[in-house]
Amino acid sequence: MNELATLFRRELALAWGRGGGPMLALPFYACIATLLPFAVGGDHAQLAPIATGISWLALALTSLLSLERLFERDFEDGALDLLALGAPSMVATCFIKCLAQWLATGAPLAIAAPIIALGLGAKPELWSLIFTSALLGGLGFAFTGGVGAALAIGSRRGGVLIAVIVLPLFVPPVIFGATAISQAADGLAWQSGFALLGAYSLASVALSPFAMAAACRNALS
C-alpha cells in the first residue's frame, strides 16, 4: 500500500511537473474547441446544436494526446523494469498509473468542459451534467486509453498507433455521453445514456488494468 501511494505521488508529479498536466491539456482542449468553429464557418445557428457534441469529442481527443507517454516513456528509460520488480502486482501498478493520469488531466478537463460547451453556445443549465459526464467519461478514457498505450509500447509510433487502437474503444463512451447530454438539452430523459456511460467507465476501470499488465509484461520480455 505504502509503495502504491509513493507511485501515485510520483505519477502525479510527473504529470503536473514543469507546467505540464492540465496547464498544457487545458489550452489544447480550448484550442481544439476553438479551431472547430473556424473550420465550420462559425455560423451560430449551425454551431449551437452541436456544441456539446464537439466539446465532448474534443475531450476524447485531448485525453488521447496526454495518454501517449503513460507507458512508453517508462519502457524506454527502463522505469518499467523497475516497476515490475516492486512488491505490488503489475495490475495494481497499472491501475494506479491510470488513476493518477485521470486525476492529473481528466479532472481538470472536466472542469473546463462546461465552460467550453457554454462558449460554443450550449444551454447554461446543462453545466452540471456536462461536468459529471466529463468526469466519468474521463475515467473511462483514461483506463481504456491506458490499454492502448500499453499495447503500443515499443512500437515507436506512439500517438497515432495508440489513437488507432483506442478510438474504437472510445466510440461507446463518446456516444453514451453525447446522447445523455443531447437528450437533456432537448428536455428528454438523459439518465439511460448517463448510466451506460457510468457502467462503461466503471467496467473499464475494473477490467483494463489486467489487459494493461499483460501488455506491459509482454513488452518487457
Binding site: T6, R10, L14, D74, G78, D81, A84, L85, G86, S221
Partner: protein, 200 residues
C-alpha cells in the same frame, strides 16, 4: 528472503534464435558471480531471465527460500543499462521513489546518500547529471532498500576510479552480510567472484 539462486540447464532464445543451452550456475549467500562472454553471448539476457522478464526456453531459475513472485517482488534488485531515472525530476525525488518502491525506508535513503556521496547531486535534475553521476544515483537503491540478490549489468563502467573503489567496498559489505551478486561484466569486479562463462 532468497537464500540462494540456482540456474539449471538454462536455454534462452531471443527472436527465434537459440542463444545458448545447458547453462547452469549457482549463487549462494555471501557469494558473487560474474557472467563473462563475448558481446551478444547472452549475459544481459540471463540477468533479465533471472529477474523474470524473459521466460526460459528450457531449464529454470530456482530461488531457494522464496517463490518466484515473492523473490522478484521483494528479494532482488536489477540495475541495467537503462536506469529508469526520469530526466526531468530531481535526483532526490528519483532516489526516494526508486528506494521506496523497492521497499526502502527514509533511513535507508539517507544511508544511500551518505555511502554513495550523493549529497551534492540531490537538488539537480537527473538529466543534468553526467553518465557516472547517473549510474551512482541508480545504484542508490541497492543501499537504500536491502534486498538479498543484486543483478548488475556492467555496473562499474561509467564510474571513475575513486567511485569504483567505493562501490567495491559496498559490494564487499553486501556479501559479508550474506548478500548475493550476479553481475555481467567485461572488466573483473573488485570483489572475489566466481566467473561464469557464457558461450553464445
Amino acid at each position: 528472503m532468497i537464500t540462494g539462486v540456482e540456474i539449471e540447464n538454462l536455454a534462452l532464445t531471443r527472436g527465434d534464435r537459440l542463444l545458448f543451452e545447458g547453462f547452469s550456475a549457482q549463487v549462494s549467500p555471501g557469494e558473487a558471480a560474474t557472467l563473462v562472454g563475448a558481446n551478444g553471448a547472452g549475459k544481459t539476457s540471463i540477468l533479465r531471465c533471472v529477474a523474470g522478464f524473459i521466460r526460459p526456453h528450457a531449464g529454470e531459475v530456482i530461488f531457494a527460500g522464496a517463490d518466484p513472485d515473492e523473490a522478484r517482488g521483494q528479494g532482488l534488485h536489477f540495475v541495467g543499462h537503462q536506469d529508469g531515472l526520469k530526466s526531468t525530476r530531481l535526483a532526490r525525488d528519483e532516489l526516494n521513489f526508486q528506494s521506496r518502491w523497492t521497499g526502502g525506508s527514509a533511513a535507508g535513503v539517507e544511508r544511500a546518500i551518505e555511502t554513495l556521496a550523493l549529497g551534492p547531486l540531490m537538488n539537480l535534475e537527473v538529466r543534468k547529471l553526467s553518465a557516472g553521476q547517473r549510474r551512482r544515483l541508480a545504484l542508490g537503491r541497492l543501499i537504500a532498500a536491502p534486498r538479498t540478490l543484486w543483478l548488475l549489468d556492467e555496473p562499474m563502467a561509467p564510474l571513475d576510479t575513486a567511485r569504483r573503489a567505493m562501490f567495491g567496498n559496498l559490494m564487499a559489505a553486501h556479501l559479508a552480510g550474506g548478500g548475493m551478486i550476479l553481475a555481467a561484466v567485461h572488466d573483473p569486479l573488485p570483489v572475489p567472484a566466481r566467473t561464469l562463462e557464457v558461450a553464445g
